[in-house]
Symmetry: C2
Subunit: 437 residues, 2 copies
């Protein structure tokens, strides 16, 4: 039996989940990998804090130097944040340790340099837990779909936002009320900005782009829109038009060396699309490859257990699966968001009540200006109205023209991207005799 000594940086949610699984599943791991992993040191900030795991007191230290002195071969980083985490990870790599991390922000912002450092030292840097929690999407892209040209990745990668949108949509509760309750219950952070404004999703999208397309995208270059302006009425209107609204992180590459269109935004997802029914804190990633066509992975995107599972699976793979290829990553040309999508959702909230037949009149007006309208709906809402359209060739400048032309008081006009129907919806007749089974 091979023995591997491990250090943990941090004993919060992820660290605790990791430690627990290494104890509870030691027998499975030993049987499947022939390796015994032993935690030899745990870096914490506070030695006196009450811990959720027993028998770790003698392992705790507040000094990073103690970690490297403990003779460990793998350092598991479960601290989060950029500093001092980044410095510790670099020191661990320089000391010849493999590193496993769940830190999406660190990997999104400094992953490329850390990987170069790791390659130079001949060690592995693995970060499955940084995207989609327990969902093994990075391993799938790297090992199980590598002969495919991946051209599109679309994901629900923030459980807090998906929980809020699911509660709003299924129980008609307002954004503020769900968020407040989520904060009270500990589902959402006291400062929810990173989640609800889409920063967290952008971090994960940058990581997905690296694995899927082999390109290096700066987080700041990803057009990003949060979910704070979504109303229950809008969710209901979308549903009536045949869509759910999800905070979607999308990336599409046009040709292997071509530009990449990126976007984190509330997006209309056709109800029959595999991503549409993903509820609550669940995450899901939809991957399109040139030969496999599409594969969707669904699972729990966060929490002590799923994230701990992803960390431990990575730990086992340090010694089993080959490292990332050594090619340096290209900085791709980034296309403006939305330019590539054919259909948009146009929502006009008016201060007055609109008659149902206004839809037809406005539809005709839009058509006159070259906007193709695929569907339209007038939705009354407490003495006001929403006029909703699915349009093609939308012109943003029309936002300033329409209210004048239509002589209505417009409270706001929103446009949102619409995800194209999946292959499943198109029911393509690609399957030849006897092959469907």
């Amino acid at each position: 039996m091979k023995r591997v000594n491990v250090a943990l940086l941090g004993l919060g949610t992820v660290g605790t989940g990791t430690y627990k699984m290494l104890q509870s599943n030691q027998d499975v791991i030993a049987r499947k990998t022939g390796t015994l992993f032993e935690v030899r040191r745990i870096l914490v900030r506070d030695l006196t804090k009450k811990r959720k795991v027993e028998g770790v007191k003698h392992l705790l230290t507040t000094r990073f130097e103690d970690v490297l002195d403990a003779g460990v071969q793998v350092v598991i980083e479960a601290m989060g944040g950029i500093e001092p985490t980044r410095t510790y990870v670099m020191k661990a790599i320089e000391a010849g340790c493999h590193v496993v991390t769940a830190n999406k922000e660190l990997i999104a912002k400094h992953g490329v340099e850390l990987e170069q450092l790791a390659r130079g030292k001949g060690v592995q840097l693995l970060y499955e837990a940084s995207v989609g929690g327990g969902i093994p999407v990075l391993g799938t892209l790297q090992h199980l779909l590598k002969a495919n040209r991946i051209h599109k990745v679309s994901g629900i990668v923030n459980g807090t936002c998906n929980y809020i949108l699911t509660q709003m949509s299924e129980y008609g509760r307002s954004f503020d009320s769900v968020l407040a309750e989520a904060q009270e219950k500990g589902y959402a952070e006291a400062d929810p900005t990173a989640d609800v404004e889409g920063f967290d999703s952008a971090h994960k999208l940058a990581i997905l782009c690296r694995l899927a397309f082999g390109v290096d995208v700066a987080v700041d270059d990803i057009p990003r829109k949060g979910i704070t302006d979504i109303t229950v009425a809008e969710l209901e209107i979308a549903r009536r038009l045949g869509y759910s609204i999800k905070l979607l992180a999308q990336a599409e590459q046009y040709g292997e060396e071509g530009p990449v269109a990126l976007q984190v935004a509330p997006t209309l997802v056709p109800l029959s699309h595999p991503l549409s029914g993903v509820r609550g804190v669940y995450n899901a990633i939809h991957v399109e490859g040139d030969v496999v066509q599409d594969v969707t992975l669904v699972g729990q995107g966060a929490g002590e257990q799923p994230t701990g599972s992803a960390v431990v699976e990575d730990l086992c793979n340090v010694y089993r699966l080959p490292a990332l290829r050594a090619a340096s990553l290209r900085r791709p040309m980034i296309l403006p968001a939305g330019e590539e999508s054919g259909i948009q959702f146009l929502l006009i909230e008016t201060e007055e009540v609109l008659a149902a037949d206004v839809a037809d009149k406005w539809k005709a007006d839009l058509l006159d200006t070259g906007i193709q309208v695929l569907d339209a709906l007038i939705y009354p809402d407490h003495g006001r109205s929403h006029a909703a359209f699915l349009v093609r060739n939308w012109e943003p400048r029309l936002v300033s023209v329409l209210p004048v032309e239509w002589e209505v008081s417009i409270k706001r006009i929103i446009t949102r991207p619409v995800l194209a129907a999946s292959v499943a919806q198109e029911e393509k007749e690609v399957v030849s005799a006897g092959s469907v089974s």
Copy 2:
């Protein structure tokens, strides 16, 4: 650049998809794996048959001996069937070749002996394409969820059945009419028995059990029921109760060395479960592990491209990923089907029209005999009726008692298993502060 010579056995749907991908994605494969795979020989039955790929004439042979003489390191088996396929695969392994196959029947029935042979010879036997087409479920179980104790696997693994049920459910078409059209279009075989009676799903379930639980299940030991008796009315009734009906292959293990409950049967799946919305020819596998909780993989379960993709991904992994552990597989105790499931769907078709309040009376009668009724529905259907119940503690012997007691002419009584709600539905409050993201 490493060079690997490959032989193809068969140039039907799978063989053609494999050959095409090895041509079209040669550059991607070379870049990612550092290996050039070259097809050196293709075994076919008929040299004169028109082929869907160009420039292969000089590679074709009808003699298996020519394949082994071609100096190949990997044999890709894409012939299907048991003989002479099994003999060829054994000869290839004995000659020291790695084997990649898409043949679910061969692997379900003879996989264990073939794997032993391969281990003895120090070569790999890979068969990702045999379950779920392009969905990398076997690789996921083997490499990306191996530190978890997998305790349950539920899958929609037959695209023909899922296509038929989707068409019946969404367009109200009869089983016979969808099947006839599917046969005409080439979606279903002239003899659809293997698909619609669940044999194909049972083969795949046996393979999943091997990878998920490390047990050796004989295909004949899997209780199996097909989809031929499902009606449009039943699908509609299930929908009104909050379920879709899917042909589900399910396996659950009770404890690591414990018994296994197995079943292929039309099963009610809660509409909010990740498997419920899987439409058309799509396949999906829901995996439950002790730490990761649940992961669902969705994708195209058949067709030239997805299946070819799975074969080629396997081919690349022959030289990259470690082989299966050498442990010999245990024959588990098999539990009778259905015994383990708490809730059942009970559908009673009567020859007469029932009043809506009959539901309450019958519900009370069922309760008197110890059957707990969770939901009930009377559904009129062309001068007849269906009475539907979701029950707990169902007693099969009641089927002969109830008609007499209720004084109605009963056309038929069906019971079906009901899949438990997924973790997502239960909305468990497991997620602690700041961990949902």
